[in-house]
């Protein structure tokens, strides 16, 4: 039994070597893989505080969301948003735009029982852009 354990350890160590080799080019600064939109712009589930709903995005480093492409609808009706100040960015091919990086919090009044539809769009500093993302959140009744 002890010999078998040793043999299995040796095999595991032997198999670990090619796994390390496979990961080495990436960790040594090889081509950086682009994230998916879901990975780059993580929208957390809405947090409710009474009649106020807070939306929060976690934006990956090197990625940004466009301020003017954030839209929220409640039961199909567009909501007026009070968006925080954004950063100016001279985007190649698009000119000066206003963007959010790192994180974005947005508070809005939404009645209980309504369905929120949140739409947003962003790109990466590497020049990769993503189609508009859209999520539906049914807000529970109190």
């Amino acid at each position: 039994m002890r010999y078998l354990r040793h043999l299995l350890c040796a095999l595991a160590l032997g198999l670990a070597l090619p796994c390390a080799a496979a990961g080495w080019p990436a960790s040594a600064g090889g081509h950086r893989q682009a994230l998916t939109a879901e990975q780059a712009f993580q929208l957390l589930p809405p947090a409710r505080h009474g009649d106020t709903v807070q939306l929060e995005w976690s934006i990956a480093p090197g990625y940004f969301l466009y301020r003017d492409r954030i839209q929220v609808r409640a039961d199909g009706r567009p909501m007026t948003l009070v968006l925080p100040a954004a950063q100016p960015y001279d985007e190649p091919g698009a000119g000066m735009v206003q963007v959010y990086r790192d994180d974005l919090k947005l508070r809005l009044k939404a009645p209980a029982g309504s369905v929120l539809q949140v739409r947003y769009q962003g790109c990466s500093d590497q020049g990769i852009c993503y189609p508009p993302q859209s999520y539906r959140y049914p807000l529970k009744n109190h």
Binding site: G14, L15, A22, A37, R69, A94, C123, C129, P131
Partner: protein, 181 residues
């Protein structure tokens, strides 16, 4: 003791052989700078797209051409920035069998307007994000971003995939690498 040392040597030997075998397999299939992305595959024969007039085109329609499929959108700044280089490449190499097609992840009205502004004179296709993202995924664009280009040989083999904007010099070098004399 001698038996123990012999066994230890045997265990180390098994580990080294297993490691060498695994590493060798890795290097043969994925080493030398190649990645899964560079592995050759045929363009799926039944892939089809719709043009601005609603006509469906199978990509096999362009067999015999060195084909560059360039996914773009009117809302994509980097896409619009690289299109002039693609238009020029079509003019320069079209007579030698090079063909660009430009599927847009976009609304047909917006695409028609932008097509004129950008001077796009190669075939433009159009589709909803859901349709086009699925198509791009099939062609190897897992992140789903734009611009995304796929270079296909005249006999339908995917030669290269490129996510992001083309540098015009790199684009020309790539085309000349695969274009027959």
């Amino acid at each position: 003791m001698k038996g123990g040392v012999r066994f230890f040597v045997g265990v180390v030997l098994v580990g080294v052989i297993a490691g060498a075998t695994g590493f060798g397999l890795y290097w043969h299939y994925l080493g030398n700078g190649r990645t899964d992305d560079d592995a050759r595959q045929m363009l799926p024969a039944d892939l089809a797209m719709t043009d601005l007039n609603g006509h469906v085109h199978k990509l096999s329609e362009w067999r015999g051409h060195l084909l560059l499929i360039n996914f773009w959108a009117t809302w994509c700044g980097p896409c619009k920035k690289e299109i002039p280089a693609l238009v020029q490449a079509q003019k320069t190499y079209g007579a030698r069998g090079f063909q660009v097609i430009g599927p847009a992840v976009d609304d047909p009205t917006a695409v028609r307007q932008e097509q004129g502004l950008l001077g796009i004179d190669y075939p433009v296709m159009v589709g909803t994000p859901e349709t086009m993202i699925g198509l791009m995924n099939t062609l190897g664009n897992q992140p789903g971003g734009l611009p995304f280009s796929v270079l296909v040989s005249p006999d339908g083999m995917i030669l290269q995939r490129h996510l992001g904007e083309f540098d015009p010099k790199d684009l020309n070098a790539l085309i000349q690498q695969y274009l027959p004399d």
